[in-house]
Amino acid sequence: MFTDDAGKGGISAGGPGNSDDSTRRTGGDLLQLITPEGERISHPEFDSWLQDVSDEQLGSLYEDMVVIRRIDAEATALQRQGELALWPPLLGQEASQIGSARALREDDFVFPSYRDNGVAYCRGVKVEDLVRAWRGSASAGWDPFTVNVATQQIIIGSQSLHATGYAMGIQNDGADCVAVAYFGDGATSEGDVNEAMVFAASFQAPVVFFCQNNHWAISEPVRLQSHIQLADRASGFGIPSMRVDGNDVLAVMAATRIALDRARHGGGPTFIEAVTYRMGPHTTADDPTRYRDANELEDWAAKDPIARLKSLLDRKGLLTAELEAAVAAKADAVAAELRAGTINMPDPAPLDIFKHVYSTPNSWLDRQQDHYSRYLASFGDPAEAATEEGAR
């Protein structure tokens, strides 16, 4: 049990061990290759993993990050305009998502959470598919096997077990692809994530646990979930870990490549803690001013992942007018595609409610469907039955 602020006995997280600002932990042990000012720092071990990253590739990483920021902003706007029921913004986490996803091979398989839209985009998920479930038009936005990305998980941490099981399958098959689980800092408290690490270590499964520590689980700071750095937890399971600056796209990419390479070559699981920050609300339904200090936001704004890469490009003389124009045009086009795709998305038919519950017919459900279609028919105009009435 901990002590509370007043030092009185009782239960609360706080107390000497963790009452400080959690940003204290983003200290010198972070692996970083680009400073917040955009200066490239060399690192003997990590640099060797980035030798193939050409100037052109730096430009395309920049493009991807700008585009997903734009997707995120457009989706947020669509939510405000009533076109989406909800949206979980990833603002601030672009480097973590793009840096890691761009390190993957096509046959690797991703198990993401609801916030990993940048990862999904990078894997080839169509933009309107990113919003399908948030619009309420489907339970899942895409077929996992077309892009090797499982549908986004809402139950916190569940997907870490799925990734581990998938990896055990890879291992049995003698393949050299890798499963990657994406989850947040809060998720590390769930039993599922801990059990996933137990399985992954026991079987030396080719899985990468990619934890985006964005500092907040809705209103709860990361210090409420853990008294030690998240990366350090993995060692208790016998899993090697890395702690990288999650706003540094190159550091994230190098770390992910190291982890993937280890998994491909029989070295088992790796845990990566990408230290980043959620700049926006938890979802469009959340009000972070209730629990979050504006100063903290300002500090992190200075570490913006896109601004950082932009400065690096600038320093290298790569930030040409052509590049800027091309990136802006791409972002405009993708945003327009997302908007049109959302607004033109067809509504499901009423009887779709009975589809896919089972893969083979089920007599109980067939009877319910038959009865409900008779009920709808009794209105003459079925649209009349499809009012908001059910929710009244």
């Binding site: 609801y114 409420l224 009244r392």
Partner: protein
């Protein structure tokens, strides 16, 4: 009497319990500074401190499991499960530990734990945010399961639940959180109608319509609409889902001879099945027709563009009433 929202009424009841009993302790995700995602615990941490209103790590099994330990130690934990669909990671602790501890220890260990669950649909949420998992718990002996339908009950029944020495699952209809009603905060929960009792919310003589939680309002509206057509519907709010108050149900069915049960949860194995079977056993010779269920379908809770089809609305309930009365309805002409 004060006008207040449902959410505020629960907040006020929690406050009373925190004031009256130092052993009451609130736990859950985001219930502190944020006041819970629905603001039900708004301001309580500020007033009672972080050791009485505890933001827990993000771990449902952990929340319930530590509540068990606190109960061993003499506390009365009141935990919030943020959304219905997130209770499943805690299922094992609830059904294997919380429910059985008193029995296992022959009464030596009490589990006065209240588990608050915002449940049900109708708010356009993504998956796992609109479930009606009550039947999993009514099936487990040792648990009391209640569901509130109006601000006054919300206020008194949360206090009764907390005062109960048995574990109580307290299901809050989240789509009613913003509904307002009169609340008399001077009511002593000890002398108010017990949470174990059902209540007749509208008297009628032709058919008994049973509902709980979010659908009590819909059922009342349906009764009003039926009255326009000359049908007199008696509406019963179950309040307690386990144990069920059969005396109130039986008295009503003996009078009306007809029974309709409505809930959002899927039909098969749902509470409607239990009510229908038990009433058939008890009142077979008083029934003029087979009991009718108007419920959610046997499908996973659908995405929001379809939820209005899944949720029993006024018209579907009236269609069910017509079936019980043998009046023309959507299934007329069909056997069985």
């Amino acid at each position: 009497m004060t006008q207040m929202t449902f959410a505020r009424a629960i907040n006020s009841g929690l406050r009373k319990s925190l004031e009256n009993d130092p052993k009451v302790i609130l736990m859950g995700e985001d219930i502190g500074a944020l006041g819970g995602v629905f603001r039900v615990t708004d301001g309580l941490q500020k007033d009672f401190g972080k050791h009485r209103v505890v933001d827990t790590p993000l771990a449902e099994s952990g929340i319930i499991g530590t509540a068990v330990g606190l109960a061993y130690r003499g506390y009365r934990p009141v935990v919030e499960i943020q959304f219905d669909g997130f209770i499943y990671p805690a299922f094992d602790q609830i059904v294997s530990q919380v429910a059985k501890m008193h029995y296992r220890t022959q009464g030596a260990v009490k589990m006065p734990i209240t588990i608050r669950v915002p449940f049900g649909g109708g708010i356009g949420s993504p998956e796992h945010h609109s479930e009606s998992p009550e039947a999993y718990f009514t099936h487990t002996s040792g648990l009391r399961v209640i569901s509130v339908s109006n601000p006054q009950d919300a206020y008194t029944m949360i206090q009764q639940a907390i005062a109960s020495d048995d574990p109580v699952l307290y299901f809050e209809p989240k789509r009613r959180y913003h509904d307002k009603g009169e609340v008399d905060e001077s009511v002593d929960p000890g002398s108010a109608l017990s949470m174990e009792k059902a209540r007749v919310v509208a008297e009628g003589k032709d058919v008994t319509l049973v509902a709980y939680g979010p659908l009590v309002k819909t059922a009342r509206d349906a009764a009003l609409a039926a009255a326009d057509e000359g049908v007199s519907v008696e509406v019963i709010d179950l309040r307690s889902l386990a144990p069920l108050d059969f005396s109130t149900l039986e008295a009503s069915v003996r009078k009306t001879g007809r029974l309709v049960i409505t809930h959002e949860a899927a039909q098969s194995g749902g509470l409607g099945a239990e009510v229908a079977a038990s009433i058939t056993e008890r009142c077979f010779y008083h029934l003029e027709a087979a009991p009718v269920r108007v419920t959610g379908f046997d499908v996973p809770y659908p995405y929001s563009k379809l939820e209005m089809h899944h949720l029993p609305g006024l018209d579907r309930i009236l269609d069910g009433v017509d079936r019980a009365l043998g009046r023309p309805n959507s299934l007329s002409g069909l056997e069985g």
